[in-house]
């Protein structure tokens, strides 16, 4: 009985705040972890393929040391999905590797500002921010 009451009251507390129509948030099941591990970019609409391809291309360029190209590709992706936090994170990783910790930190903050309720993205952004401030 007390459990039932507790559940009822708990349910009522949810009435306290009717949220906005939630923005389509990145899928909950994305594989992301904090400590510098790869965060797969989740995308929200039909542009998923295009964005994934650009991210893949950007990573390849980054791995090969062609930072200009890496930046150009991820920027193209951002033009397509400007509010995708994972794209900003990719941008930040490239800035970090090419020794621009200031921009890396700034893009991490930008990623945080568009992450909204996406906990994984926020965590990854905080991690990037931390690594950037260590430099």
């Amino acid at each position: 009985m007390r459990l039932l009451l507790f559940v009822l009251l708990f349910g009522l507390s949810a009435c306290a705040n009717l949220p906005f129509d939630p923005s389509p948030s990145p899928a909950a099941g994305d594989s992301a972890s904090v400590a510098g591990e790869r965060v797969e970019p989740e995308t929200r609409s039909g542009s998923a393929e295009a964005v994934r391809e650009l991210v893949a291309s950007s990573r390849a360029s980054r791995a090969g040391g062609d930072y200009s190209r890496a930046l150009a590709d991820i920027e193209r992706a951002i033009r397509i999905e400007p509010r995708n936090p994972y794209l900003w994170l990719e941008l930040g990783e490239t800035h970090l590797i090419r020794n621009d910790p200031r921009q890396a930190a700034a893009t991490a903050r930008k990623a945080m500002s568009v992450a909204g309720p996406d906990g994984a993205a926020k965590a990854a952004a905080e991690d990037l921010l931390e690594r950037a401030s260590r430099r």
Binding site: L9, F10, L12, S13, A14, C15, A16, N17, L18, P19, F20, D21, S23, S25, S45, G46, S47, A48, E49, A50, R52, E53, L54, S68, R69, L71, A72, D73, E75, R76, I78, R79, I80, P82, R83, L91, Q103, A106, T107, R109, K110, M112, S113, V114, A115, G116, P117, D118
Partner: protein, 763 residues
């Protein structure tokens, strides 16, 4: 005779003659060398090619088949039934097959290739390559906008030597200069014949000019046709012939000769003329079209095919007959061509390539990094962010809007305006309109018209209040008469637009309805300093004068500066500089510079989100609500109207989820327009945003530090959805608000109590 011999043999006579000959020789040398020098300068003044942003195709992009067809036409693609080579496309109701041309981008070369684009539901559904495999992304070649000349701001559509159609060359020689290949700059028989005709008629009637002479005339000299001119022309022509071969001269001629006029803008060269008259590339012209262009050489105004079609037709057919006579075309082809109509387009389609306002911005941004000299270095290619579709849209809405607004007010001078569209997330300037005369290369109001911004400043006043932590939009402020004593001792009594005061109102309402007195009160309470800091952080190069009147927008800014400020708002408080140039590449394709996407956090995103929610309310309930008539139901936008003293300036600045646009309307003579921001600028802004392709609702994700809550629009007290004047805003989590009588959310209140209890249990 004997006397002459005497004079010549005598010493002084000999010297005089020698001196005269010497002077003549020097004169000829000077003129000749000068000619070669100037030719050299202009010849190597190969314009930097400036390109718009490439259209990127991907599944999900809002675009339909006709839309892609328009874009391809703009790029000079030819619509055909069956695609057979690069530069062609075929159009079906929900599919486009195309063969792209090879293009060297700033990062790589894309080879020519076949593609298929499938559409559905107003979007691209899929992309396929030549093998039928699915593609994720296809970047079309960008539209070439024009050129930047260091020495003279004229436009060219340069035709490379191997792109000059042979028939054009043959026709030019046949009609203008049959002995071109053989002469040394002058055609003596032609000159003599012309001289004979002119002498008999008493005036200069016939030309007798070779192509080289015509080239010289167009390069250096004005149109005066005196004998002295002809003499100089002759020397220069011969000098050029000595120095350069026939191909080089022809190449220069094809790109230089004057062929028409578009308002204040001269049309030089066959490449541009081909576009100007026929909307086609030179390589796409048919025989009768080529013949018309050649016919125009003799007198582009006199034979203007749009103004004097009969004359143009007659001369064109004369040209065609000549071509048949000389067997350059066979008789049948000539006969068929003679039967064809002129075929010129009704209005020049060059307009979409010619972007003086945007090019102005490009030039200025390049000038900071490149000296005039290095821009003039041959072959620089400049890639910009211009979106041709949005540019056309902005131009159309501004021009149509100004015409509409103008007609309601007869006596006053012409209304003028400016518009800028950006993508705040990247800082890219995608469209810019500098005034009503789109093709005019004059005063660029978007960059240079500094006008009092009026109420456009208010969001920044409220942002300062929100950032201080002492206010939310639910707090109240008194909208009542206030007297401000300035440093000089003078008194300032700000008035509301309606001359009424509204008493104690929520900050939300004061912002949405743009109350002056409430804003001044709030601004003075928060202090002018924070406002100044915000303005500088958000992009102003220098802080404006710190007078209290700044709170109501007593500062003069250009639309471009306003766009910079609002861009930072749209971007959650992250500043990204507005840029038009994406990258610059040299002839070899080596990147010279690239504008990197850089961001800097300059405000608390939570404060900005709260403010922007208020700006959304401006458009729902406030001074911007007339926009709702234009905007589709699901499209949420944020913005602010701006009206300066005496209604001299009508402003609107606002953004959707993807785009920001600023519109200004006013008079160049600064006289009142009678238009508020809503009546004027907003009536241009709203249809423009509504028609913007691929723009989405402003509905950003915000952090967990904020929570949405319903308040009463007037009192700022806590309310609930659907009750009275309830509006939803964002407040910092845990903000406690008083309750709006009659609009209690009982369940919600109980829930809050329970939550408090649970939380306190956890501590």
């Amino acid at each position: 005779m004997q006397e002459l011999k005497q004079i010549f043999l005598r010493a002084p006579g000999r010297w005089i003659i020698a001196a005269l000959l010497g002077a003549l020789l020097i004169h000829v040398l000077v003129v000749g060398i000068g000619a070669i020098r100037q030719f050299e300068d202009r010849r190597w003044d190969i314009p930097a090619g400036v390109y718009a942003a490439p259209l990127e195709l991907y599944a999900g992009l809002p675009l339909d088949a006709p839309g892609l067809s328009t874009a391809l036409d703009q790029l000079g693609f030819r619509q055909v039934d069956v695609v057979a080579r690069p530069g062609q496309y075929a159009l079906e109701p929900n599919r486009v097959t195309l063969w792209t041309r090879a293009f060297r981008f700033w990062d790589r070369v894309d080879p020519a290739a076949r593609h298929t684009v499938n559409f559905g539901g107003g979007r691209i559904r899929s992309l396929e390559n030549a093998n039928g495999e699915r593609m994720a992304l296809l970047r079309l070649e960008p539209m070439r906008l024009g050129s930047i000349f260091a020495t003279h701001h004229e436009d060219r559509l340069l035709v490379e030597p191997d792109a000059i159609p042979p028939i054009l060359v043959d026709a030019l020689k046949a009609v203008e200069d049959r002995k071109f290949d053989r002469h040394f700059g002058l055609d003596l028989t032609a000159i003599l014949r012309a001289a004979w005709v002119n002498l008999r008629s008493g005036e200069i009637r016939q030309g007798g000019s070779t192509l080289t002479q015509q080239l010289v005339k167009s390069y250096f000299l004005d149109g005066r046709r005196t004998f002295r001119r002809k003499y100089r022309e002759a020397i220069m022509a011969m000098a050029l012939e000595l120095r350069y071969d026939k191909e080089a001269l022809l190449h220069a001629y094809v790109n230089e000769i004057y062929l028409g006029q578009q308002g204040a803008r001269a049309i030089h060269g066959f490449g541009l003329a081909s576009e100007f008259y026929f909307g086609k590339y030179l390589s796409q012209l048919e025989v009768h079209e080529t013949a018309l262009l050649v016919a125009l050489v003799k007198g582009p105004s006199y034979y203007d095919p749009r103004r004097h079609p009969e004359r143009a037709l007659q001369r064109r057919n004369l040209v065609l007959k000549t071509l048949a006579e000389l067997e350059i075309v066979d008789n049948q082809a000539a006969a068929e061509s003679i039967d064809r109509e002129l075929g010129v387009t009704a209005r020049s389609r060059v307009g979409s390539r010619y972007q003086p306002a945007y090019m102005d911005l490009v030039r200025r941004q390049l000038a900071a990094e490149y000296s005039d000299e290095s821009i003039a270095t041959k072959g620089l290619r400049v890639f910009t962010s211009l979106d041709p579709g949005v540019q056309r849209l902005a131009e159309r809405e501004l021009v149509d809007g100004l015409e509409r607004l103008q007609s309601e007010d007869e006596e006053a001078a012409a209304l003028e305006g400016a518009a800028i569209v950006t993508q705040p997330a990247t800082g890219a300037v995608i469209a810019m309109v500098g005034g009503r005369e789109i093709a005019a290369d004059g005063f660029n109001r978007a960059l240079d018209a500094k006008r009092p911004v009026g109420s456009l400043i208010k969001p920044f006043v409220y942002l300062a209040a929100l950032q201080s932590g002492e206010y939310t939009l639910a707090n109240t402020v008194e909208d009542a008469p206030i007297e401000v004593v300035m440093e000089s001792g003078r008194r300032w009594l700000p008035q509301n637009f309606s001359r009424e005061s509204h008493g104690e109102v929520s900050l939300l309402q004061a912002l949405a309805a743009s109350y002056n007195q409430a804003t001044v009160r709030l601004g003075l309470a928060t202090g002018i300093e924070p406002l100044l800091e915000i303005l500088v952080e958000f992009g102003l190069e220098e802080p404006p004068p710190a007078y209290p009147s700044l709170l109501l927008g007593a500062v003069e800014l250009s639309p471009f500066q306003v766009a910079g400020l609002y861009s930072t708002l749209a971007n959650d408080g992250f500043r990204t500089p507005l840029t038009a140039v994406r990258s610059v590449v040299d002839t070899e394709g080596q990147p010279l510079s690239r504008t990197a996407l850089e961001v800097e956090q300059v405000a608390d995103p939570n404060a900005v989100h709260q403010l922007n929610r208020g700006l959304v309310e401006v458009m729902q309930r406030g001074t911007g609500r007339s926009s709702r008539a234009y905007l589709p139901d699901g499209l949420a936008v944020a913005g602010k109207t701006g009206t300066s003293d005496d209604l001299r300036d009508s402003w609107f600045a606002g953004f959707s989820g993807d785009h920001l646009a600023v519109v200004w309307i006013g008079r160049d003579d600064n006289e009142p327009t009678g238009l508020t921001g809503a009546a004027g600028a907003l009536s241009v802004w709203a249809p423009m945003i509504a028609a913007m392709p691929a723009t989405t609702s402003y509905d950003p994700a915000y952090s967990a530090d904020l929570e949405p809550t319903w308040i009463d629009y007037d009192t700022g007290l806590k309310s609930r959805r659907g009750c009275g004047n309830a509006v939803q805003i964002l407040v910092p989590e845990g903000t406690r608000l008083g309750r709006q009588p009659g609009c209690r959310n009982v369940l919600g209140e109980i829930g809050e109590r329970v939550r408090d209890v649970i939380e306190s249990l956890g501590n």
